[in-house]
């Protein structure tokens, strides 16, 4: 077991935040798919999925920022600040880090357009949000390519798990698409499921309605 020393601390921090970022991004993608298909998560109202999707996205931004910052600051390999956003210009692992820069740019576009969503045309926001389906695979390939850790042992299982989760959610989405409820019936369907059950003896009305015919 390698000991964490001062010189390796940043390196470990970068890898750890990278792994957490991958997990969070996987969760964001799955929640995003659930939002779009009106999915339900146990114990959560359907419309709360939107809020969770947003919160986890913003949390993942923090981890990605920490991941990138620690990688750049770490003196062990020199990564220029420009290589963070410009793909394929890094001296160290130009291709794999380039993919990281590509996914970072895509994620930045997603976050910025979502923050400005109320002030931009809906169609433009939607078009840009589709880039999420490109950003996640690129980020995954960046992780596997840049880090040998993900190619063996427990972290390999994690990478496979993430791939299967997103793949499964994508397939579920395609299946859901076929049986979508007409929009005129949606509110009524949710209402039917939300109204308190009429259990006459347990929940009587306050007033025996003498006035109504």
């Amino acid at each position: 077991m390698t000991a964490i020393t001062q010189s390796t601390a940043l390196w470990y921090a970068s890898r750890a935040t990278g792994v957490v970022s991958l997990l969070l991004l996987t969760l964001v993608v799955v929640l995003g798919i659930a939002v779009n298909r009106q999915g339900r998560l146990p114990g959560l109202p359907a419309f709360a999925v939107t809020g969770l999707h947003r919160s986890v996205s913003l949390l993942s931004v923090l981890f990605i920022a920490a991941h990138v910052a620690t990688a750049v600051i770490d003196p062990y390999v020199s990564i220029r600040a420009a290589a963070v956003v410009i793909p394929f210009v890094s001296a160290y692992q130009p291709f794999w880090l380039g993919l990281g820069a590509v996914s970072l740019d895509l994620i930045a576009a997603l976050i910025l357009t979502s923050l400005a969503r109320a002030r931009m045309p809906r169609r433009a926001w939607r078009g840009i949000h589709w880039l999420a389906y490109a950003a996640w695979p690129v980020a995954l390939i960046h992780s596997i390519g840049a880090s040998p850790d993900l190619r063996s042992g427990g972290l390999r299982l994690l990478a496979i798990g993430c791939t299967l989760t997103v793949g499964g959610a994508g397939l579920w989405r395609l299946a859901q698409r076929a049986r979508e409820m007409p929009r005129a019936e949606r509110a009524a369907a949710v209402l039917a499921a939300s109204e308190p059950p009429v259990r006459r003896p347990a929940r009587p009305s306050f007033v025996p309605d003498r006035e109504a015919r």
Binding site: A46, T50, P182, R183, D209
Partner: protein, 447 residues
């Protein structure tokens, strides 16, 4: 606000029944007080073209293109459809485009508790049509429409009124009558733009706003029919005359639909700034202000407040489209709110997840809160869900519904405590606030 309130108001139109779609046979009673009424005809029965011209003369169409926008700015006229947006700014925004503009009078009064637009269209259609022509002249538009709920008698009356004007050679622009579906959101600006172009009356995301790209992607001026009638009077009599009624910040008169606690429904024209106690017969436990996207305020407070946005804003309420309802003392405000919110939830267009998932869930929880022994934790849930749906729709439907729900939880807090103990102060469960009958909906209902 002046203290010489000469206005126990002119009762201009009185409804016998509770069917909000029923057109008026004619105003049952009208009185002139303080220069009122301005919009509604003084005599019994609706005003035809001859009576209209005798009272107001022809609209100054040749002047409108040069000075109307500035006059509207000086008058301080705001939209009477509920949003109270400055009218001159809308006109200026549409006039600023180079592409040919469209102007549409919005008479789609989806709000079940409001009848003032239907009353105005029935009683004074020529004033509305004057306003439509003047607005078209002011923004240089060659296309005009009048968007009104599908009602055979009203449409026949309006078609005849339009034809009468055309025959008299009064108009610059032909007016097309457009039928609005009987849905709560049909009068929403983007829904109107979609319907006027032949599509379903569904709200869409903004931007672009209708003033940039509305009907068939052309810049579109959408004005409530009462706003157009007010505009037609300002074009004739000027800003100073308009400001001789109302308050300095909120000038002019407005139409209001009053629901008295005894079930009487009344459409009146009143000055902004009129004390609410002069409009509604109080005391009442609570007063609903601004309709179903409005807010409940405690009855005791309502007795001391004037009808202005400045006075109502601190309470989270607004004048809106001028609906005022006094809750009868024998009814439960929570039960009334639960009925209305259930209706609003079902009126969701089913487009935005937070709306069509959130509102029915809130409605279901309110139904529980309106019945004996609700689980107390439901109140916390409702408050949280309100936060989750607010601002998350293509239109303001979730926001308006949440406003009503929050005000009910606030104003009827002691009733909530009673319900939790299995008690309720109300002695009648007879419905009070008007709602259309429950109908199964499909896609065709948006057209």
């Amino acid at each position: 606000m002046t203290s010489s309130m000469t206005r126990p108001l002119p009762s201009l139109a009185q409804y016998s029944g509770r069917d909000p779609n029923e057109p008026l046979a004619g105003p049952a009673e009208s009185r002139y007080l303080g220069g009122m009424p301005r919009l509604l005809p003084p005599g019994p029965g609706p005003a035809g073209l001859r009576a209209h011209l005798a009272r107001f003369g022809a609209p100054p169409l040749d002047w409108a293109g040069r000075g109307l926008v500035a006059e509207l700015q000086a008058a301080g006229l705001t939209g009477r459809g509920g949003a109270a947006f400055p009218t001159y700014r809308k006109l200026a925004a549409v006039a600023g485009h180079r592409r040919p503009a469209v102007v549409i009078g919005n008479g789609a009064e989806g709000e079940p508790a409001s009848s003032k637009d239907k009353t105005l269209l029935w009683a004074a259609p020529q004033l509305v049509l004057d306003g439509l022509q003047l607005a078209a002249a002011a923004i240089g538009s060659g296309t005009a429409g009048l968007y009104v709920h599908r009602d055979q008698r009203l449409h026949q009356w309006l078609a005849a009124s339009i034809a009468e004007r055309a025959a008299a050679g009064l108009d610059l622009v032909p007016v097309e009558l457009i039928a609005a579906p009987a849905r709560f959101l049909a009068g929403e600006e983007s829904a109107l733009a979609s319907r006027a172009a032949g599509g379903p009356a569904l709200p869409r995301f903004k931007p672009p706003r209708a003033s940039e790209r509305g009907v068939a992607d052309r810049p579109t001026l959408v004005q409530n029919v009462e706003t157009l009638a007010q505009l037609a009077l300002i074009a004739r009599y000027g800003a100073a005359w308009f400001r001789s009624a109302g308050t300095t910040d909120e000038p002019g008169s407005m139409l209001a639909t009053l629901h008295q606690a005894d079930g009487q429904m009344l459409v009146v024209e009143t000055e902004l700034g009129t004390p609410i106690r002069d409009l509604l017969r109080l005391p009442a436990p609570a007063v609903l202000v601004g309709g179903y996207h409005g807010a409940w305020i405690p009855g005791g407070l309502a007795e001391r407040l004037p009808l202005t946005n400045a006075a109502l804003r601190p309470l989270g309420a607004a004048v809106g489209a001028g609906v005022l309802a006094a809750l009868p003392a024998d009814r439960c405000g929570l039960a009334e709110t639960a009925r209305v919110v259930r209706y609003l939830a079902l009126e969701s267009a089913g487009q935005c997840g937070p709306c069509f998932n959130g509102l029915p869930r809130i409605a279901g929880a309110l139904a529980e809160l309106a019945s004996p022994w609700p689980r107390p934790e439901i109140i916390t849930d409702v408050r949280r869900w309100c936060g989750l749906v607010e601002g998350r729709g293509a239109c303001r439907h979730p926001d308006g519904t949440v406003r009503l729900v929050r005000s009910a939880l606030e104003v009827f807090a002691s009733e909530l405590d009673q319900h939790i103990l299995g008690r309720c102060a109300a002695s009648s469960s007879r419905p009070f606030l008007p709602l259309p009958p429950d109908l199964a909906l499909d896609e065709a209902d948006w057209r």
